[in-house]
Homo-oligomer: 332 residues x 2
């Protein structure tokens, strides 16, 4: 089967982003291991530049533009982390960026995106189509639209997460039994699972979504790309995509990935656990896979499991709410 | 000059704690680099078992006890992180532990220490001498008192932090210009500076203390061990020791370490920055070196600086207070 991207694309992306992106480590915490009765390796992409994996794909995509394209600038539409990734990559590469963001995007993500020097255009997430808005913004400028996931360079860039995990596990002489990857449009999941399954063919893979955004879970069952219900809501603002892409979905399906969902309460609880016990700041969408583990969505006993903590751009007020009312022991 | 511990002791400790302690990574964050105009490497000991470096020394010390000593149990006196380190090491080694803790120790640290199966005895930090209380608790039991820092095995265990930093920097082909280490009684600082100065002799070293607990800073100037003023207070509960030890201080003095201090407000600000920008949960005492960097206590421009984020056991309520009233951009 031929997919939209290959391992060569991911390896090429790894070279392209070297020095620009952070080579994040692979963490293991005794407390989490004890809690699930197995070994868990965490890829902390909250340590990535802009606080989320999105920088990888954005930098890989933007750095491939020709001089004429670079001069015309780029436009992206995003709820926040892709916005920041594109804005930061554009800033580093000297490209003008316009970012179309939902007007209810986290203030922190809006502020950071502007902080990276991008022009921000707001739209109504629930009543306007963001791609249409983006096209209107592009107008006749000739700017390049940088899609958030359904793009070969973006997918290959996110796939470097999987490549690095595989390299680090191989150094330890370990083969994971399973990996759980947070999933919105499937950019991270498709690229990362491709790299992980290349290194560890018998490993099982799970795409983790918010309960009301279970389109990929349903799509993987039905075999066709399904959409989320109109009006769906979740606190996991990083994972609120209407459907997987026609480039990302065939990879997930072809690799035999299964879907899992977590509730908002479970995601928030995982944010709290990450902060208090693991000492890691995660955003709710970034902690979805951790939430799936903590709530027994997969068997972890005696197994080696990989999760990607995909982002840490949580509103300070929300982080304060999450951790503020804990009183129990966090013995680890 | 002959110090209380040698590099052989630290190398031996590294073997002793291998597999029991977490081999923490060395992190670098573009945002922090940009903020200080140089390269900063962070050793995140908040990822260590029990959330602080203290587990290293405690495990090294307790695992060296003979069978008779092990059967008689151990006693430790600590404001929190040493308590947790000894309790956890004792639990893993099947040794009974009694921990004498100040009655105003953070609830989280009290709860965790009990969670690791230790018996906790409370005392009044400001009106009772903790070593006297510990001796009363020991009584005729024959239990071994495990001091928090002035002990060769404890110091060598903490020194593995420096050994790991040196190994990781050497792998990167880098020589640090300076290192800043949080300092209470000097267990971490003496062991870690010994290992770092062994690998990088011309590197400068700074022990960082809370303003009102500047005894080591004064001691390094006067050449004799000075004490903190009675009634001194700080939010950095991990660093509230009355004076350096007669085993730790000669090492700091002999290596030419200098002292620096930070205010409580600066430490709390560093906790906030660590959480919001670096995505790391630190306790105030664990963030003292970061605070010193952020407030220009040393020249960082064009330099390579190492800091140890020595602990992350902050009360959830305090973390919520620290991060809850932030609204500015954290562009990174």
């Amino acid at each position: 089967m031929t997919y939209a991207i290959s391992m060569d694309d991911i390896r090429s992306a790894a070279k392209q982003i070297e020095g620009a992106a952070v080579r994040t480590p692979l963490l293991e915490h005794p407390a989490l291991n004890d809690a699930v009765g197995g070994r868990v390796f965490i890829k902390p992409e909250n340590f990535q530049r802009v606080g989320a994996f999105k920088f990888r794909g954005a930098y890989n995509r933007l750095s491939r533009l020709g001089d004429v394209e670079k001069a015309r600038g780029v436009v992206a539409f995003s709820s926040g982390n892709h916005a920041q990734g594109v804005a930061k990559a554009a800033q580093m590469l000297g490209i003008r960026a316009t970012i179309v963001m939902p007007d209810d995007a986290p203030k922190l993500k809006l502020a950071n995106t502007r902080g990276y020097g991008a022009d921000v255009v707001l739209y109504d997430r629930y009543n306007e189509d963001r791609e249409a808005v983006a096209k209107r913004v592009v107008g006749d400028s000739g700017a390049t639209v940088v899609p958030p996931y359904n793009d070969r360079y973006i997918m290959a860039g996110q796939g470097t997460v999987g490549l690095e995990i595989a390299q680090d596990l191989q150094k330890l002489g370990l083969k994971p039994d399973q990996a759980l990857i947070n999933c919105g449009g499937g950019g991270l999941a498709s690229g990362t699972f491709l790299a992980l399954k290349d290194a560890f063919p018998v490993m099982r893979g799970y795409a983790v979504e918010p309960e009301e955004f279970d389109d990929v879970t349903r799509s993987l069952k039905s075999g066709v790309i399904e959409k989320v219900d109109f009006g769906a809501r979740s606190v996991c603002d990083a994972l609120l995509t209407p459907s997987a892409g026609d480039l990302t979905f065939p990879i997930l399906r072809g690799l035999g990935i299964e879907g899992l969902t977590v509730s908002d309460a479970e995601a928030m609880d995982a944010v709290r656990y990450a902060a208090i016990t693991l000492k890691l700041v995660a955003e709710p969408g970034g902690a979805a896979s951790l939430a799936a583990l903590m709530n027994g969505r997969v068997e972890t006993r005696g197994k080696t499991t990989v999760i990607v903590l995909s982002g840490g751009n949580i509103e300070p007020e929300m982080l304060a709410d999450c951790v503020g009312n804990v009183s129990e022991s966090n013995a680890n």
